[in-house]
């Protein structure tokens, strides 16, 4: 869907981005991960030509973007950023409807779409005619997301979209984000410096440093097969959490005890070990019921999850 071929960009004689190449598949979420100044945001902004590359080519859907009209290109690509950038003089409804208006959609269609999106993103209807500064930070970020999604672009670019939110709001919006149907069909490139967030949301992660790609792979690959010291150090200290995050219940399924038959209905499907633990903690229960595709039910507690996880890890290490 998106392909970068040896893309470079210099600012004042230093390489902000140095011969970066990668492909993003359709409906995939690629996270550009790295410290500030590593070139990840510059890379992102070159995809919708907010920044023009000095060298290299970028293709979207097989077409070179350099040969397209920049404004037309950007109308087809959703863009969400940390600072949101809502228009302070537009109401919420007007802010969401910017792109459809530029595309000259009929009024009724715009209205329907705006209402639909607001509902999906849990924005109360009474905020429609408010100005952005009357909304909370979390609500503003939802409006920013709605604005990016409104014209149903195939590609979505996100620059630290949750960076400005407090921890509680961030976690809940991230959960909503993952659950949103609309996003599942989209090809997403997201920038973050937050390793946890990258592991939570990415199909694949592109780890960058000093304008170059260090490693490109699935979270699991990054965690278990780091290509060099930088990659190893970047994840160090968060190893255990990250492992919990990428290990699914289905991975440790065989190490979990069976639940007594005909107990209550299952409560979780195939989530990560981390999420299962979060659920245990947040609901205050001491056990959860999970079910696999064969209808087999297993009971989970902190103890059993940890035990199962350790057995799985041992097997990975020695197998």
């Amino acid at each position: 869907m998106i392909e970068l071929k040896a893309v470079s960009k210099k600012f004042n004689h230093t390489h902000a981005v140095n011969e970066v190449s990668f492909k993003v598949n359709e409906a995939e979420t690629l996270v550009l991960l790295g410290t500030s100044g590593c070139g990840k945001t510059t890379t992102l902004k070159m995809i919708n030509r907010l920044i023009t590359p000095d060298a290299g080519e970028i293709y979207i859907g097989g077409e070179a973007i350099a040969r397209q009209d920049g404004d037309a290109l950007r109308k087809k690509i959703g863009y969400v950023m940390q600072h949101i950038g809502l228009f302070p003089h537009y109401t919420i409804a007007e802010n969401i409807a910017v792109v459809p208006k530029l595309l000259k959609w009929p009024k009724a269609k715009i209205e329907e779409r705006v209402h639909g999106l607001m509902e999906k993103l849990h924005l109360p209807a009474n905020t429609l005619n408010m100005l952005p500064n009357q909304l909370s930070g979390g609500q503003q970020q939802r409006v920013g997301l709605a604005r990016a999604l409104v014209a149903d672009p195939a590609v979505l670019l996100m620059d630290e979209p949750f960076g400005a939110l407090d921890n509680v709001t961030r976690t809940s919006i991230q959960q909503e984000f993952k659950a949103l149907d609309e996003l599942k069909r989209k090809t997403i490139v997201m920038v973050t410096h937050d390793v946890q967030e990258a592991f939570e949301l990415a199909d694949r992660i592109c780890l960058m440093d000093k304008g170059k790609v260090v490693q490109l792979g699935t979270p699991k690959e990054l965690l278990y097969q780091p290509v060099n010291d930088f990659a190893r150090k970047f994840l160090a200290g968060q190893q255990l959490t990250l492992e919990f995050k990428i290990t699914k219940l289905s991975d440790i399924w065989s190490f979990l005890p069976n639940a007594a038959a005909a107990e209550e209905k299952s409560e979780v499907a195939d989530v990560s070990v981390w999420e299962a633990m979060e659920l245990l903690r947040s609901t205050g229960k001491n056990r959860l019921l999970a079910v696999d595709e064969h209808g087999k039910i297993k009971a989970l507690s902190f103890d059993q999850l940890t035990k199962g996880f350790n057995q799985y890890q041992n097997l990975q290490a020695h197998g």
């Binding site: 950007r74 863009y79 950023m81 950038g85 809502l86 228009f87 302070p88 910017v98 530029l102």
Partner: protein, 523 residues
Amino acid sequence: MGEQQQTLWQFMSGQSDKLFTQTLQHVGLTFISLLLAIAVGLPLGILIARKRKLSGLVLGIAGVLQTIPSIALLGFMIPVLGIGAKPAIVALLIYALLPIIRNTYTGITGIDEYVKEAAKAMGMSASQILFKVELPLAMPVILAGIRTATVINVGVATLASFIAAGGLGEFIFGGISLNNTNMILAGAIPAALLAIILDLLLSVIQKMDFKRLRKAVYILPVLILILGGFYILPSAYGSSLTAGFTPEFMGRQDGDLGLKSAYGLKIHTIVISDAVMYKAAFSKELDVISGYSTDGRLKAFDLRILKDDKGIFPPYYAAPIVRESALQQFPQLEATLNLLANKITDSVMTDLNYRTDYLHQSPERVAKDFLISHGLYKASRNGNRGTVRIGSKIFGEQYILAEMYSMLIKGNTDYNVSTKSGLGGTKICFDALTNDQIDLYPEYTGTGLLVLLQPDQQIAKAMAHDKDKTYQYVYGEFKKKFNIRWLKPIGFNNSYALMMRDKQSKALNINTITDLKKYLDQN
């Protein structure tokens, strides 16, 4: 106090026609120039917000233009744009430019970078970003600039009367020259009210929220256009020659009023400041002007005095007027000042004025040269037995006289001198004298009679044309009323005079005011 208000009210209702026209002209001038300033300033502000490297240069130039004294700016424009509405509007435009450019620039550059980035990322074109995002968000700041420019323009527009562009300045400056407080207030109060009302109106618009602002911003240009339309260009009324008279001359019995009643002179007249009047006559913007008979510019600009064959201009013999208390405090003062008595004739004074006004010699040098050649100059004694304060009105001749007196006092007495030259018009000078701010200044007998004493018309008529009677009358009355003494006249008579370009007067064979009237009646 009540009487004062009553008479002001009477003056205003008596002159309501004029007041109405002047107010409309004033509003019109303000808004035409404002509209043009917006048309120039807004795009310039946008340009330098785009190309920030230019901002220093553009804001610098606009800033320098802002600092040019308004009367000088008006003077510069006469050779290029003539007199009347055009140079006035251009000058006002120049003053309004800086706040508009600067606020547009600040308004646009002050917008959150992320808002602009979001606008671009959503696929807005550069012009869409400008009109949908940048200008609406910068609008409160831009409006603040327009508000500042409006208030500046209401003030500067009073000076438009200097170059015959009308406006409330006609009353204000006419009133200052004529020592007529009601006339000053009749111009100043409406001008001040205008400034306050416009300021309030714009502050309301400026504080509107974005939704209402959108509508207001559409209405504003229409409103400005309508208000600008108030200014009806002064229409020439059928006379082949054009006269330019000072506001003071316009209101005086021994001025325009006398020309009308004694000669029946009907000439298309515009009101203009004497600072630019001679130049305008020289550059053929005007044909007839009201000047002073000893003015150096007469010689410099090759102008010729028309003979006052019916004698409507009373004599204006110059003499120092001194507070009695100062004469007592400085016993040697009277004798010293009288050293100059009968020493300067009309032609000598014209020549001295020519040297300052046209050859640009300093009044100090001209004064010193004159005193040396007449054997009156003595080196300063650097005395310290009290300080004599000399005032002067704001034109060359008075500066020269003040310098001469200063040198005479320093050379012949042990008094020190401080000169307070350039004290505006007659009223300002005289008020300074009566309020003990200065001890003396050179005054003219005609002015003393007609402007300061303002006796009833019969007395005025009886003595106005007799040099000695006038002197005796002002001498007696000033002593009685103000405790101020007229010392001996200096010798020259700086009276009002009508003048034309020498060439034109010869070509049309106009030598006297009666000739002028005949010529006008025939053409």
